[in-house]
Each structure stands twice: as C-alpha cells, then as structure tokens.
Subunit: 475 residues, 2 copies
Amino acid sequence: MTAATNLSGGRDDHLRGAIDRLKSHFGDRLTTAVAVRDQHGRDVSWHLPHPPDAVVFPETAEEVSRIVAICHTFDIPVIPFGTGTSCEGHVAALQGGVCVDLSRLDRILAVQPDDMTATVEAGVTRKRLNAELRDTGLFFPVDPGADASLGGMASTRASGTNAMRYGTMKDNVISLGVVLPNGDRIRTASHARKSAAGYDLTRLWVGSEGTLGIVTDVTVKLHPIPDHVVAVSASFSTLEQAVGFVLVATRLTDTLARIELLDELQVEAVNRYSKLALPVEPTLFIELHGSRGAVDAALPLVEEEAHAAGASRFETAVSAEARSRLWQARHDIWWANLALRPGASALPTDSCVPVSRLVEAILAAKADVSELGLVAPICGHVGDGNFHLCVLFDPADPDERHRVEVLSKRLASRAIALNGTSTGEHGIGHGKMAALVAEHGQAVRVMAAIKRAIDPHNIMNPGKIFTLAEAPPFS
Amino acid sequence: MTAATNLSGGRDDHLRGAIDRLKSHFGDRLTTAVAVRDQHGRDVSWHLPHPPDAVVFPETAEEVSRIVAICHTFDIPVIPFGTGTSCEGHVAALQGGVCVDLSRLDRILAVQPDDMTATVEAGVTRKRLNAELRDTGLFFPVDPGADASLGGMASTRASGTNAMRYGTMKDNVISLGVVLPNGDRIRTASHARKSAAGYDLTRLWVGSEGTLGIVTDVTVKLHPIPDHVVAVSASFSTLEQAVGFVLVATRLTDTLARIELLDELQVEAVNRYSKLALPVEPTLFIELHGSRGAVDAALPLVEEEAHAAGASRFETAVSAEARSRLWQARHDIWWANLALRPGASALPTDSCVPVSRLVEAILAAKADVSELGLVAPICGHVGDGNFHLCVLFDPADPDERHRVEVLSKRLASRAIALNGTSTGEHGIGHGKMAALVAEHGQAVRVMAAIKRAIDPHNIMNPGKIFTLAEAPPFS
C-alpha cells in the first residue's frame, strides 16, 4: 500500500498534483525548465544524466519538510542536491521526481569556540565554513576534492587528504537535523561530544546518500589550527618503497596529517598542469601538523626513515606559499588528469584496503591497466589505504568503455578479496551497487530492511545503494 | 504473526521446547541452576535483578548462531551477556528467556601490527587484549571502569578516561561479526580503515545493547604506545577554575589524553581508600601522551595555564609507578565511593554536555545534591563534558531512594536542556528509557522502526532502550 492509493489517477497525475501543490507554495522557486533540470540530473561522474521532473529551491528546513510531506502525499521521488559533485550518479533522478536543491540553506547557525563545534545549514560549503572560522583559530578539516556542501559531505560520508589525522565525516559530525521521508523533522543527537543514548542515528544518516531523508543542518567538530605545519615531497624508486615507508611512518609519529601517493604517470600529469618539476617517480606528498616542538622532533625521524626506505629525494616546504603550491597541485589532480587526454571522460576508482595489503592492491591495479591498454594515473590517501585510479577514456569508443568497465569491476573485486572496500569515500550511488552486494552479502538485506522501515514508500532517492527487490524483509 | 504461531501451546511450552532443543545441542553448557541464573540477571547497577530462564555457554560464533536460530523458532527472548558490568540493567531478563554468556568466545583471532588492528572474539576483555599486545608496541585505549569484554563494550558504546584523545568504541571499532535475530550471520564492514559502502552498520550495532543481535567478534583500531607520558594532578580552589582550565587546555595542545575531574568529596574518598594525601579541593588528574618533544614542549604551557586559571598545586608524575598510583586511584573510585558509606547502594549518573555548559551543569548538580540531602561525590571525563555523580543511598530507605530518583531525573533533564545527553557512556538499558524519549523525541520512533525491521519478533534483549508500543511504524 502506498500513501497515494487514495489518490485517483496514475503516476503522471500524482506528479502533476505534487508539482501543482509545490508551485502554489514556492512560486518561482520551483522550476521545470530543461536547463535547470539537466544541470540537476548529473554529477561529476561518467554516469549518464537523469534529470528530475522539477527542481525546487527551499530556503529553510521548514520548507524542506513541506516539500517532502507533499511528495510523500503524492508518492513522488525526492532527490536531495548539494553541489552536484558526487562521483557515482548519486543525484540522478532514475525514476524522475522532485530535486530539492539545498544551496539556499546557507546560514552559519552557530560557532561555539569553547566546544570547538559549528552548526551550519546543509548548503554551506566547506570552504565557506572555513572562511567564516577565520578569526577563531579553528578549522574544519574534511576536504574532498570539490568545494562540496556540508549536507552533501555528510550524506556521502566524505573524506579527503586530512582523514588520516582528523577522520572522515563519520568522525566529525556530532549531530544532524533531518527531514524524514514523511516530512517529520528529527535531530539525530544532542551536541554532546559523546553519547550512549540509543542507536547512533547520526552515523546511520552519515553515508545514507539521501535514501533515508534530507539533511538540513550539520553540527561538526572543529579542530585547532596546528601551531606548526611542514609539508614534504619525497620520491622513491618503487611503489613498494613508498608504501613501505608509509607503514613505518604511521607508527613513528602522530604528527602525520596527510600522506598522498602519486604514481609516475600522476607525477607527469601534475608536473605539466601545475608547472612543477618533480622527478617522474613514485612520490609522496606528506604534511606534519602539531606544536613546533612535536613537528621539529618528528621531521628528522621521518626523513631518516624515508631514506632508510629508499627515498631518493626528501624536500620540505615550510612557508605557507610553498606548502600551498604543493597542495594546490594535489587538489588540481582531477584537472591535471583530464588535461592528459583532452576530450576524454574520466572514471575515478576508489578502492580502500588494509594498509598491509596496499602494495599488492596497487601493483595488481597497474598490471590490469597495462594489460587492458588503458591510461590511468594513480593517486591516493595511502595512510588510510585508499587509492584512486583516474581512468581516462573515450566515451564514444565502446571497446574502450568496455575495458574500463572490466577494470573497474576487477578493482572492486580485488579490494573486497583483500578485506577492503570498493569505495573508501565516493559512495555507492547507482554506480557501485553490484560491488556493495559482493562486499556486504547478507548485510545488504539489513540495509534494505532499515530503508523500508524508515521510507516505506521508497520515495527518497530511489534506486540508489541497493535494490530493494533483491533483499527480502526479515520475518 | 510470530515465528512460533505454528507451534502448539503457550509461552511455557515454547520455553520448554527451546530449552529442550538447546539442551540436546549444548548438554552441560546449558544450565537452569538458580545460582547461575541469578548471577546472569544482574549487572553492577542498583536495578533489581531479573534472572533468565536458562544460561547457555557457546564456544563459537557458529554456536551463537544456532542458539539464536532456536530461540527465533520458539519465539523466546535472548539476552547476550559479557562480563555483567553494565550500569543500567542491560542484562536483566525482563521477560525471561535465554541468556547467552559469551565468555568462552575468548580467542584473539588476529593481530595485524602493520594495519594497527586486532580481531578478537566477543568475550575477550580489554585487559586481556592489552596483555596480548605486549610485544607489539601497540595498545587498545578504551578503558571503562570494569575489565569489560570487547563485545559488551561495543554493544554499550563504552568509553572511559582515554576517550578525549583516542575516542570511544564508536571511533575504535572497524568491523563486527554479528548474529542477527533470525540466526543469520553478517559482517558489518570490511577491515578497511574507512569506507563509504552503504549504511554504517558497524556504528548501528555499536551501542545497540544487544537489541539487534549478538556481537561475536570485534575488529578494533590499535594505537602506538606513546613514547612519553606525563601525569599531572592539579588542585583548584573552585570548580569554575578547574573547568575553565579544561577549556583552555583542550585547545592548547593535542597531547592531552586524559582530563579527569574530582570534586572535594571525591578527593576525600580517594584519599581515604587509596592512601593519598591530595588537598581536599576540586582536582584534575591529567595525562599527556606524545613524543618526548611534544610532551616536553606542552608541559610548561599546561602548567602556566593551570596557574593562570588559579591552580594552587600542579604536581607531575613521570615514573611509571607514580603515574600508576594516580590512575589506579582513579580506577578504584567506585570502590572508594562505596567505602564512604559502607552498606550503601550506589547509583552512578552519567550526564554529558557541551563543555561550554559543564560548569553550569556540575554546579546545579551539586546544588541538587545538597537540597535533597544526599551524598554524591562527583568525578568525570571533563574533556568530553561527561561527569558522574556516584549517589550513595540506603536501598532500604524508601524516602532516600525517592530522593535519589528525583536527583537522577533532574540531572537527565538538565543535561538535555543544556543540549547534552543523559548518558555519555553507560547507555540506556531499562533504567533511562524515559530520558531517551525526553532527549530524542520523534527520533525514538526511528530507532523503534529499525528494531522492528531487524528483529520483527522482538526476541533480542526485549524491553531495553525504548518501548515499541509507544513508537508506531512509519507509513
């Protein structure tokens, strides 16, 4: 039974009814213009766009609640939209419906320096938040490639280069304001830094990709800006050496905030795009954070171990400019890679394995790329065991596209075989649903049971993460 | 419809059927002896014991699965039991049923030093795990008062004195082996350090208090034993000064691993029981962890700020013996408090508030204690905003017991009003269900919906965390 069984007419009537009702509330803030719908049906991924039937621009959580309640009444899909920078088709309106663009929920609701927390509306982006924190001595560390919204980052369990020291969204979200699929509003937790009060709804919503409701505000942990920061770029003759060093370094000092690996091709791309002149060898970008005493004590140890592991070059960057040049190059990798093969599409893979299996995983990936005749620079947050191939291909070449799909599947299977995951930070969307089943088996049935319990009409971002039909309810 | 509707007879017949079936599998490892049942119906709390009808001692996850499957068939409650050291009646067999004692699932399944992880069966205790890690240079930091089992600690989202630097069970569990309420087995996650693959089932099970199934193994993060550790005990004239210092110190250095507050009465109890001679003033026990350089750099800053905040005494303990004397005294607080009033029962409260509201919360609690004519030393993990009153009372005095209940309710309400929680680490059990509703409102309906979806017959630890009848399903 659906909420709309007492409504007359078919799917089209329901849709028209919902849009009419929304239009009467939102006026010009609801649009069915093709250009706007097109823009909201795609993310940065290679997946085909699926435009929604309408896009609505609420300005408050109360308005989000009203939208969802209306869609619930008419049994119409609802797709939340942050900045559209996800990687697995998360915002595709696979079954049509209403896209809720949250960019106008853009208020900083509170900054509490004593608690080292901030509460912001879902549409606030990470860079905007950090700009607002300028005078507090605090910062928000989670840094996916894009300037994503906090609501989107929470919904996809985002991370980035700082995760090693500061954690992912899982670790940095304290509480969420959520609109449930029936339009009701809840808060997932208090603002206490820890709690043992019932099920951890915050962590359930973090990473639920809009399938359980819409995040309207996010309370996050902030961190003191470290007193002292030193960046390092180090070159190694082989990947084994570079990753071997990571294993040692992780245990050597708690000042390690970032360790990013670039393979030879990735270094080449970065050199070209960001006008650097790094040796074309496996390279680590490293950053140490801490008190001056801690970083100064750690740096010579790290350098010594790097050389012991085989580093041919160990260059420090202390000034803000030098550090920023290095990390800007890291953050521009996506564009650097696209520039390697102009006109190509790019598929970013996202394996994450226990670090003890990382060398094995990366070497096998490189062998696959070579065997399949593809072009795919590798970079990664190797302190967490997470690495990305950026597979560049001609979308108009069906054979090449097929080989990309073979590679993508092999990488996912191998990560799972190595007791890792097909996705460290990009999420499942509708691009990795088969990999989720391969990885989680029976546990997907639990996920589906939760979805059914909270969203019995399956209106929230339907068709994402798992297929309900393949996961029967528990009895 | 229940799983047992096709079984003949009433509840007693079902119970007899389940016990007969279990007996045939487990022989002497199933007992209905009164002494064993009594021991398994109580935890360390003031709540009345509720013995189960039988206790069974499985030795493998496979056997746990078999037990649960049998109880599922006969529709009989199942109560998991670790070490019986929870604080809110978590193990009480409120509706009778079968208690599953997990102490014989005691194998260390794997220690992976390169990944800094260990996988242990649910019955392994935290001290046993740390003893096994002796030669690795790694340790497992989560330290509730008791030597609890890892399965129990995961199930109650335990934390302790180290949470400030190392996090709680929420932060330190990577993956769980779980037996679902129908007897099926799942793994909640791979062993990758981070993942964006679907709903975060690990975090859902952490803190679910046995209501969603039985944890059979736990994979946890380990941490390098810090190179250098310095303990400090500091005295302040007022609680405001002590807590004011905590706010400053937290932002001053990332070497802070522990900050424990003891009020005057708590200091008195500790002095008596642990033969210390601390000034009877609000006192902080502090511990700094890190490289020698980091700790040595931080210590003078911390001391300077302590004096600036009004510390009359700042004493460091560097040798392992001196540190251990301090922390042993901290860990013995429960016994020290019981010795304050021999024969008394003790109710440990568990408020946790944003640290900016901590002074307000503690001062109001002290005023309540005084107004109600009770005896209740205060200690707490104040870096997290978590503090405990240990309310000592005569269980045979109904008036005093009533005043204790009034106090307990006031503390919970106040923590919630200050945007905190009634329980930072002890959990809900059946002792704090009203507080959960006050804190979470409509969100409890979401928790109940999840419970119903995963455990439709409500056999897993029924009557805990929330009342299903008060939380209608979503439609």
